[in-house]
Symmetry: C2
Subunit: 554 residues, 2 copies
C-alpha cells in the first residue's frame, strides 16, 4: 500500500530531482492563495478548521499521553486556548523505538512515498496552515500562507528529492565477478540494505515553525528514521497539524502512527533536553538561538546535530544606479515580518564620504535619510503596512527594540506602533533604524527583530572587510551588496566566498535578500557560525542513513 | 595546465563513477605485480629506489624544515635509517593556509585532475611502494604490493569519483525565471561556487599507511582542501613517497607544492595534537586506536573528524557443507598479516553442542580442533607461511600475544615463531587460538594481532545475539557467518543490519572476510563504534566542501 504512494508521486519526485540539479525556478505547489489553485471553498474551509481548534483539545490521539499542555498566544491578540496531548519524553522515545522496528523494514520507496503523500496533504490544507502560522508567529496572512504553506512544503519535497537521489544510487543486489586469468572468475552476490540512523528529533522555532522544520523532518523520514517533532511552546499548532496529517498517512499505509509523534511541552520544562540527550536519538535538527544550538552541539554527542543559529546579516552599499529603488527594496527587507527572519538584513555599511549614483554623489547622511524615508513611506498607511510587518512574535523582541534605543545612538527612523485595522490586540511595530560607527561592538551581535544599524565606514574596502570578518566571527545567513563597479562586485564576491555566505547583488526590484527559493537557492551555507548545514544538499541527507551489505559466493 | 590532467583522466573518472554505482568488479589498476602490467624493469627499479632511500635523507624538500626525524624499524629486520625533514606544526599550518589561498580558486576540474594524476603516478611506482610498505608494516611482499599499491590507489580513485559526482551536480551558472502571470517573469542569474573547508589533516596508521590514508587524503584534495599528511612515526616512508609525488604533480600544474605537506614527527612529541587542535584544520581523517580516535572526536571540535577505530570482528558457525574448506578459509583469515588488519576475525562462536555438516554432526571440540589443524597446516612450511603472515609490526602486538596467553584459557593452537628464509631478523608468529566461554569479558575487547578466541555458546541464537550486542557496544568492521539454513542466514542478516555491520556469508573459497574491494564493498558502515564513516560513499565526501552562491537580476 505504501508503495502506491511512491507510484502516485514518482513523477513529481523525478521533477524535483531534476529541478534540484538544474536550480532554475520550479515548484510543485502554487504559492498563490487563489481559488483556482486551491478550490473555491479552500479559504473558508481553512478558516473554519482553524476556528474549530480554538478553545479546545487539539484532535491528535497520541499513545502515552499524560495530561495536556498549551498556552500559545496570538501576536494578533486572538484568544487561542488550544490544548495538546502531552507525552512524557521517555514514553515518546520508547514508542519511537518501537515504531522504528517496522518502519526501517519498509525501505526507501515506502519512506519516500509516505513523505510525499504527507506533503501533498499538507498542501491541500495550506489555508488552515496559514491561519495557524499567522496566529502563532505573527506573520501577515500572505507570508503565513506562502512561507508556512507551499514554500515550506517545497523545502520538504526538496529534502525528499535529495534523500531519494542519494539512496537510489545504492543498488539492492549486484553480481560481482572478478576475472582470474585462464581460471573461472570469482563470483559473489552482494545485497545492500539502507538502514536508518534511529530516532530523529526536530526542534521547531516560533517564527517559521513549518519552513524551518520541514527540511529536517522530511529528510529524516524519507531515510527511514522515526520522528519526534518538538514544537516551540509558542508555535505548536502548525506542527500539530503537520504531525496529525503524517500520522493519518502512516496509518493508512499500514504503518505504526508513532513513526511521527508530537512532543508538545511547556516552556518551563526540560522536555527538549531530555529528548536531545536520549541515547536513542541519533539525529537532531534545530532552529533557534546560538546558545541553545551550541548546547546541543556540545552535549548531544550521541547524535548528528544540524543547527541553524543566530547571525549578523549585512548590506554593503558602494554605488547604485537608482537609489530610490534600492531604498525601497531595502526598506521592504527591513520591515518584512518585522525583521523576525533569520535572513533579514541588520547592518548597512556606507562609506563615510558617501556613494556614487547615476545622478551624482550622495553623502552618507543623504543615503541614511533616504533609507529612513523609504521606511516611512512603506509604513505610512497602517492597513498596508501591517500586511508587510505582521506582528511582533514575543515580548523579548519588543524588549530588544527598547534595548537598542537605550544604546543612545542617533535615531534615523524610530520604531512606531501601528494600529491593526483587523486585530485590535495586535502588536505591530515599524523598524527602528540607528546610526552607528564601525567600531561599535553593538553591531557585532544579532538584534533579532525590526532593528537596523546604518554604519559609517572608511571606504567600501573597509565595508567589505568588516562584513567578511563579521561573517567569520559571528555568522550570517545573507549578505547583500550594491555596486555598479565590476571590480567591487568581484571583491565582495571573493569576500563572501572566503567567509562562506550567500551574496545577493544589486537587488532593487521584486526580489528581496530575505527570500530564498527552494530547488534553486541554498538556504545557509554550513560554512559560517550561523548554520552548520545547508537546506538542502547531499551533505544534509547522506548521513541520515547508512548502508549494510551482505555478500556470499554466487 | 591543470585542466589537462582532468582531460587526461576524464575517461577513467567516468568509469569510476559508473563502477561506484554498479558496484560490480572494477579497477583501473592491475593488482598483479607482473612485468606485463608494470614493465620488465619495474620490480628492479622499485627495489633500487627503495634501497636508495636507506641510510640517508629522504629527497623531499619542504619549506620551513627545522631539522630531521626518522627511526623507522623494518619488522623484517632490515636497517632503514631514513631521515625526513621535520617542519614545526605552526609552519605547516601557515604554509597550508597560504597554499589554500590559490588552490581554492582552481576549482573542481583542477582539483580532480591533479588528484587523479597523483594516483596514476603512484600506480607507476607500485613496486617502490611495495618495498616501502613491506619494510615499515611487516606485510608480506604480495600484500604490500596489492594493499599498499593498486588497492590503496583504487580507494583513492573511488573517493575522487564520489567527490566529483557530488560536485559535478552543482551548476556553475544558471538562469532563474519565475513566471508572474501576465506580467514579465522575474529573471535572476545565479552563480554557484564550490568552496573547500580549509586545511585537512590525515593521520596515518602503522599497518596500512596508504590504504587507510588515501580515501581521506584524496577526498579532501579533490574537494579543494589543502593537506597535511601526518604518518605514524613507524611508517613514514610510504606516505613520504606519496607526498613527494603529490608535490611534483602540483608544481608541474603550476600550484603551490605546499597544497600537500608531510608532517613527519617522532612518537614522543605532540605534533598530532598540535595539528589536530589548530583552528585552521577543518577536516581530520584518522585511523588508529579507539583512545586516540575518541580524543580527536572530543577535542578537535573545530573540525569534522572521520575516524576508523578498534572493533571486535566475529564469526558465527551454525552449519556447513564442507567443514574443511571452511576451516581453510578461516585459518587463512586468522593468519593473514598476523591478524593485524582492522577486518581480521577475532571471536568464533560455535554452539556448545556442535554444528551440522553435510557429513553429519561435528562436536564443539571437533570444530575447534579442525580450526586449529587448519592453522597448523597453513603454517607448516615456514617459507610459504611467512608470505601469508608477514611479520609483527610492533612490540605491543608481540606483548599482546603474551597477555592473551596469560589469560590462562585452554590453548587450541599456540603461537609459534617462524624463521623467515629471506630475512633473518624478521619477527614472524603463527596465530594463537584460545578457547573461551561466552561470558568471558576478555572477548569483548579488540586483541589486535594473531589472537583468536573460539567461544562456546548455548546455541546459534545465542551466537547471533552475542555478535549483535558486541557490535553495538564495541564496534566491528566485519561479521562472518556460516550456515546452510536460510532462516538462520536471515536472522544473522537482520542482526547485522540492526547492529550496522557488513556481513559475509559462507566464505569457503578464495574470498576472505578480511578483504573488501573498492567500488563494490563499503569498508566500514559508519553505523557502529568501530568507524564513524564508510569508505567511500556520498556522506564521506559531501561535507568536505560547501557551496556559496551569488545572485543578481538578469
Amino acid at each position: 500500500m505504501s508503495t502506491d504512494f511512491f507510484n502516485t508521486h514518482q513523477q513529481m519526485l523525478e521533477q524535483a530531482v531534476a529541478a534540484a540539479s538544474a536550480r532554475g525556478y520550479w515548484s510543485p505547489f502554487s504559492e498563490s492563495p487563489s481559488p483556482r489553485a486551491y478550490g473555491e471553498t479552500a479559504n473558508d474551509d481553512g478558516r473554519a478548521a482553524f476556528e474549530a481548534y480554538r478553545g479546545g483539545d487539539f484532535p491528535l490521539r497520541q499513545d502515552g499521553a499524560a495530561g495536556s499542555v498549551g498556552g500559545e498566544v496570538s501576536p494578533f491578540g486572538l484568544e487561542l486556548n488550544i490544548r495538546y496531548p502531552q507525552v512524557p519524553a521517555q514514553a515518546l522515545i520508547g514508542q519511537s523505538e518501537k515504531a522504528l522496528d517496522s518502519w526501517r523494514e519498509a525501505g526507501p520507496r515506502a519512506w519516500v512515498g509516505v513523505a510525499l503523500e504527507i506533503l501533498k496533504r499538507l498542501n491541500q490544507r495550506s489555508f488552515e496552515m496559514a491561519y495557524a502560522v499567522q496566529h502563532t508567529t505573527g506573520q501577515g496572512f500572505m507570508m503565513a500562507f506562502q512561507a508556512g504553506g507551499p514554500h515550506a512544503q517545497d523545502r520538504g519535497v526538496e529534502a525528499v528529492a535529495y534523500a531519494w537521489q542519494e539512496m537510489a544510487r545504492i543498488p539492492e543486489l549486484v553480481s560481482w565477478e572478478k576475472p582470474q586469468g585462464k581460471q573461472d572468475p570469482i563470483k559473489m552476490q552482494k545485497q545492500f540494505t539502507i538502514i536508518p540512523r534511529g530516532v530523529s528529533l526536530v526542534i521547531g522555532c516560533s517564527t517559521f515553525p513549518t519552513w524551518n522544520a520541514y527540511p529536517g523532518l522530511f529528510a529524516s523520514l524519507a531515510t527511514g528514521n522515526t520522528l519526534i517533532v518538538k514544537p516551540h511552546p509558542a508555535a505548536i499548532l502548525p506542527l500539530a497539524i503537520t504531525v496529525g496529517i503524517a500520522r493519518d498517512v502512516l496509518a493508512e499505509a499500514g504503518f505504526d502512527a508513532n513513526v511521527v509523534q508530537l512532543a508538545a511541552h511547556s516552556a518551563s520544562d526540560d522536555t527538549a533536553q531530555a529528548l536531545a540527550l536520549s541515547p536513542a536519538v541519533k539525529l537532531i535538527d534545530f532552529t533557534g538561538s546560538s546558545a541553545n544550538g551550541q548546547w546541543l552541539e556540545d552535549h548531544a554527542r550521541q547524535a548528528q546535530v544540524y543547527t541553524e543559529k543566530a547571525g549578523v546579516n549585512q548590506v554593503i552599499i558602494d554605488s547604485v544606479d537608482d537609489f530610490k529603488s534600492v531604498a525601497r527594496n531595502l526598506a521592504f527587507s527591513f520591515a518584512l515580518y518585522s525583521g523576525q527572519m533569520c535572513t533579514a538584513p541588520q547592518n548597512v555599511y556606507i562609506p563615510r564620504d558617501g556613494i556614487r549614483t547615476a545622478e551624482g554623489r550622495l553623502g552618507f547622511d543623504e543615503v541614511a535619510a533616504g533609507l529612513a524615508l523609504a521606511i516611512e513611506k512603506l509604513t505610512a498607511d497602517p492597513a498596508k503596512a501591517v500586511e508587510v510587518t505582521g506582528a511582533i512574535q514575543n515580548a523579548a523582541t519588543l524588549r530588544r527594540i527598547e534595548e537598542a534605543r537605550a544604546l543612545g545612538l542617533p535615531v534615523l527612523s524610530d520604531s512606531r506602533s501601528l494600529a491593526h485595522p483587523q486585530f485590535e490586540g495586535a502588536t505591530v511595530r515599524t523598524p527602528l533604524m540607528l546610526k552607528a560607527d564601525a567600531d561599535n561592538p553593538a553591531i557585532l551581535r544579532e538584534w533579532f527583530g525590526p532593528i537596523v544599524f546604518v554604519v559609517a565606514t572608511d571606504s567600501t574596502g573597509h565595508s567589505i572587510e568588516l562584513a567578511r570578518q563579521t561573517v567569520i566571527d559571528h555568522g550570517a545567513l545573507s549578505l547583500s551588496a550594491y555596486t555598479t563597479d565590476e571590480a567591487v562586485a568581484g571583491a565582495v564576491q571573493k569576500a563572501a566566498e572566503r567567509a562562506g555566505v550567500s551574496l545577493s547583488l544589486n537587488l532593487a526590484g521584486p526580489v528581496f535578500v530575505n527570500q530564498t527559493a527552494a530547488f534553486s537557492d541554498f538556504h545557509g551555507t554550513g560554512a559560517n557560525p550561523a548554520a552548520n548545514a545547508s537546506l538542502s544538499d547531499s551533505a544534509y541527507v547522506a548521513n541520515r542513513y547508512r548502508v549494510v551489505q551482505t555478500r556470499w559466493h554466487a
